[in-house]
Structure formats: C-alpha cells, structure tokens
C-alpha cells in the first residue's frame, strides 16, 4: 500500500472546499444540492480512510449509515425543490422569498 492517509484526507479537503463553494455561490437549488452531495462524500471518504489506517471496522459501518441517510436526505430535498418549483415556476433560490420564516 503506497498511498498514505494524508493523501486521502487532502482529496477530501478539496472536495469539501468545492462543495462549500457550490453552496455559497450557486443560486440554482439543484446545484446547491450537488454541493451538499460533495460535502457528504468528502465526509464519507474521511471516515473510510481513517477506518483503513487505524484499523477499525466501525468507520466503514458509520460510512454505510451515512450513505443511507444521505439517500433519504436527497429524496426529501428533491421533493421540496419540486414543490417550490410548482409554487414559483422557478428553481432560483432568490425567488423563494416568501419561504422566509
């Protein structure tokens, strides 16, 4: 095994930074969901990398739980986007003003 733990962590940091950039800049709701996906994936990569190098199987177990919960989250998120699209005929989050609490 030639790859060190730190290489995987650095890739995960890059993915996290790109995801945060997408969340901060994009106004398209679906693109913001892409950003969330990238952040979740970087977290999973971190979990599995640490679980490989420590070594402990619980990291992989937690990663599996996290993937399953992310699937549920995306399903609800996309349903919310569809409902908002039906109300506003747009997926630009700047138009979702009256959703403000």
């Amino acid at each position: 095994m030639t790859n060190a733990l730190i290489d995987f962590i650095l890739v995960s940091v890059a993915l996290l930074a790109i995801g945060i950039y997408g969340m901060a800049v994009k106004r398209n709701a679906i693109r913001m969901l892409f950003g969330i996906e990238m952040i979740i994936n970087s977290a999973n990569l971190n979990l599995v990398a640490f679980s490989r190098y420590i070594p402990n199987s619980q990291g992989q177990t937690l990663a599996l739980f996290s993937i399953a919960i992310a699937a549920a989250e995306v399903a609800v998120g996309l349903a919310l986007i569809i409902v908002a699209y039906r109300m506003y005929r747009n997926i630009d989050i700047a138009d979702f003003r009256s959703l403000k609490g």
Binding site: N3, A17, I30, E37, T61, A72, A75, I82, D92
Partner: protein, 170 residues
C-alpha cells in the same frame, strides 16, 4: 508517495466536481456529479473497502443520480440552461474555497497524520456484516424506518392534488 491510479482518480474526482458546478447545462452537471461519486467509490476500492464502494455505487450512482436527472427533466427547459449568479459573490466564493483548501491543508500537512503509514491488515467485510447484525442492529432498524418514512414523506410532498381531470386523461 502516491501511485498513478490514485493520482488519476483524484484528478477525475475533483475535476468533475468542478465541472458539475460550473457547466452551463444541469444535465451535464448531473452526469459530472455521477462521475465524481464514482470516483469516490474508486477511492473506497483503493482503501480496501469493497463493500462500501459497491454500496456507494448502487446508492449514489444508481439511485440518487437518476433521481436528480429526473428532477432536472421535470423543470422548465430555460431553467436548465439558465445560470444567474452574482459576480462579487462568485469571487468571494472562490476566495473562500481557496482559503479553506489552503488553511485546512496546511493544518493537516503540519499535523501528525503524515506519519500514519501503517501496513495494517485489511478489514474483513464479514466483520461489518457481523457488526450490523449484532451490535448495530437497533441502529439498522431505526435507519430503515427513517428511510421508509422519508421516502413516504417525499412522495407525499411531491404529489399534486390539484390535477384537473383533462390533464389526468392524457
């Protein structure tokens, strides 16, 4: 040192992550996101976690990406290619991204993680199955309930009740 497979995988993963956010069409964006998720699955394979890699492929690439593609198809055509964003906000976002990468990167490179290069044996994935069925079985049941309820909630949210009869006919 890293090997060439790792290097290629990281270039593909990070490159397609940027493409997914920056390409004009949302359809190509979701396909690029699919490539990013497959790249992460490749990293899981490199980390000797084949079970997690296959789970990632089937859940993310198989279902979530298809779900996103269907949602993209449901919105109007102009919105798919429409790209409105604030220029100042964009520069600030790029600055934030670079600051995060450099900041966390230097912290990690300076930390003691560098020395963790053990040749520890690979984790047997039978152990994960055992864990799931013994210690984590209540959590597994709760997770199944959460998944079921969230999918039901999503379907209830997205269902429309105001469909007129002539629309239903076709």
């Amino acid at each position: 040192m890293v090997d060439s497979v790792f290097l290629a995988l990281s270039v593909i993963t990070i490159g397609s992550a940027i493409v997914a956010l920056e390409v004009r069409s949302l359809i190509y964006g979701s396909i690029a996101l699919m490539i990013t998720l497959s790249g992460v699955a490749g990293f899981f394979l490199l980390l000797d976690a084949p079970f997690v890699a296959m789970f990632q492929l089937s859940v993310y690439v198989g279902s979530i990406a298809v779900l996103i593609l269907f949602t993209v198809m449901l919105v109007r055509r102009e919105l798919i290619f429409n790209k409105v964003e604030d220029k100042h906000r964009r520069y600030a976002g790029i600055g934030l991204m670079l600051a995060l990468m450099l900041g966390i990167g230097t912290i990690i490179i300076g930390s003691g993680l560098k020395t963790m290069d053990t040749n520890s044996p690979m984790i047997d994935y039978k152990k994960i199955g055992e864990d799931f069925l013994t210690y984590y079985s209540p959590a597994l049941i709760v997770m199944a309930l959460i998944l079921a309820s969230s999918i039901t909630g999503a379907m209830t949210l997205a269902r429309r009740e105001d469909v007129i009869d002539d629309q239903r006919a076709d």
